[in-house]
């Protein structure tokens, strides 16, 4: 009997070790925000490459969403496509093909927005990622990070970004940045402060070749 008890304990220990309870749920969630403002709309072809790269990298069960940044980005209508890929690889591949076509259709027909509500987009992305609940949450912002809100919009409040990595991609330099580079640095520092104050992590990647290392997907 003692032997069986010992055996049972060993099996239990093995099962516990095997099922090793980690607090982080599996899967990755990525939400990409595309700046469609007049100053940045020309960069959308590069954004398409990034989306294709992400589609090739994400696994079945991962979640991926793409939304545009315009005058009022905290809105469902700005979401171009969002999906949690099926657990079966073949179905996930079909979903990726549809995703690619939808994004292609959007980039072909997009019109330049008058304003740039980045904060609204980030809030929208964080909310969706929270809802989907992946283990790793990443918000990619394909923008020059220059926010230009319409009259009356309120965005100067702390954001809740606990456990979210915010990565600013391809942050182009604007004319004032060229005149005084400190403006560029100040702009990025302001975003870093806002994100980190919300519990998130902020990174800037301008060299898209380094995307795989930075994303750690």
């Amino acid at each position: 009997m003692k032997r069986f008890n010992r055996l049972g304990s060993l099996v239990l220990a093995a099962v516990l070790a095997l099922t090793g309870c980690s607090s982080t749920p599996p899967g990755t969630g990525v939400f990409l925000l595309l700046d469609t403002s007049g100053t940045y709309a020309g960069e959308l072809d590069r954004a398409r490459s990034v989306i294709n790269y992400l589609l090739g990298t994400l696994d079945p069960g991962d979640s991926f969403g793409v939304a545009r940044i315009d005058g009022g980005s905290f809105s469902e209508k700005d979401i171009i496509m969002r999906v949690t890929f099926d657990s079966r690889p073949s179905v996930a591949n079909d979903q990726k093909r549809v995703f690619m076509e939808q994004v292609g259709a959007f980039t072909d027909t997009v019109t330049a927005a008058a304003h740039t509500d980045i904060t609204g987009g980030v809030l929208q992305a964080a909310e969706w990622l929270e809802e989907v609940g992946p283990g790793r949450r990443t918000v990619l912002i394909f923008s020059d990070m220059e926010e230009d809100l319409p009259e009356g919009f309120i965005r100067d409040f702390p954001m809740e970004l606990e456990g979210v990595r915010v990565i600013a991609l391809n942050v182009t330099k604007l004319r004032p940045d060229n005149v005084d580079p400190r403006v560029y640095a100040t702009r990025l520092d302001a975003w870093r402060d806002r994100v980190e104050a919300g519990g998130g992590e902020f990174t800037v990647i301008n060299d898209l070749e380094r995307l795989d290392v930075a994303l750690e997907l």
């Binding site: 070790a17 095997l18 099922t19 090793g20 599996p26 899967g27 294709n52 790269y53 589609l55 090739g56 696994d59 079945p60 069960g61 657990s87 079966r88 690889p89 073949s90 996930a92 591949n93 990726k96 093909r97 690619m100």
Partner: protein, 478 residues
Amino acid sequence: MPTWLMIWPENPALSAALLLVTLILVLYGARAPAHRGIQGVARAINQGCKRVAAALRGVQERLTDRTREVLLSEGLEDTERQIEQEFRRISDAVDRDLGAYPVLHRKLADQVARIDEDYQRVTDTPPAPESWTRTLQAAGELVRQAGDQSAAAKAVDALRTSIEDAHDQAMESYRDTSRERHELLARMVPAWRAMSSTLGRVEQSVAGIFERARHLDELMDRYREIARESNVAERKLATSTLTQFVTASLVLVVASLGGFINFQLIALPMSEMVGATSRLGSMQTSDVAALVIILIEITMGLFLMESLRITRLFPVIGRLDGRTRRQMAWAAFSILFILAGIESSLAYMRDSLAADRAALTQQLAGSTVARPEFMWIPAVGQMVMGFILPFALTFVAIPLESFIHSGRIVLGQVTAGALRAAAFTVEMIGFGADHAGKALNKLYDVVVFLPLKVEELVLTGRERRTRDVAADRTTSTA
């Protein structure tokens, strides 16, 4: 130096010197108990180490004895199996070749009887007797004496003619009989040849049995040697076991690689069946499912080999009657066959998934999708591998059995060696501690050498004085 240790903080050198002198005096005062303490600790460590070493040696000896018992017992069992197998072969040979001996005997007897009968029939008929010739000569003489025209001469002549006719007929009949005899002799040749061939077969069978009997004798000698537990037998068995262990390990490594390839073949398509997202601990459920399928295949292979009596890992299966074992073997083979079919289809699905994935990657990269020609070759190759590998893994049972049996002995021998080494190390530690204690005592004396020297001088002086006083007394008495 801390200030609280200084008697004259303004003069550290003097303070240090005083402290040193005090320390040396204290050490000198405590020399005897310190020496005893150091020696006691060293001796205690030495004794403890000796006891631990003795205990380790005891365990090692018990383990060595047990390993030897297992080695000899397995050697005996193995030889018994070989003897049993040899007896079975002889029995099969006897059943096959000599089981039909009564029929063979009857056949030989028939052939001998036929030859004998034919021989009787070919008995030579003697030619016409000499009396006939003499009768004819007497009749000729009578005819000459009586004259040719006499009635008696005519009668005798007629008689002679009749006798000559009868003689001719007899000769003709003799020639016929001789012909018939030659024909019979010609008929006997195949019968002789058949008999010679039959006897040749019998000789071959008997020679085979003799050969097996010789091998059996060798096995019996080995069995006796092992049963006597001789050192020669033990050495032979140990060498054989080590060889088996190494060979089985190598084969198992190769089999593991085969299992790994098998796993790679079915892990990806398994994600289509159980999903790629669920996890069991750090492993994907699809990987676990693929692993389980491979393990089931290996288990079925074990049962199949066990049912066929090729391996003997499960005595319960070995004790089953022949019919049940056959049924079990068929059941294991059927399950293996079904699993091989499943693996084959999974391998095909893997190829399709890989192609789909490649097509998607090309699409995402913006290039046109074109399926290369001859892509069916790897697909077919994977399907064939998926079908064959489960059956190949079945044979893992054979090296596994050798590994388990030889591993027990090799592990015992290695553990015994490690215990022996541990005992030696512990003993050396004890030895070292004892000598370290002695060295420490000497070092202690070096530190307090000055008071010791003084003590020595004092004692020598006292001794000399005592000797002088004794000498003076002796002189005055004289």
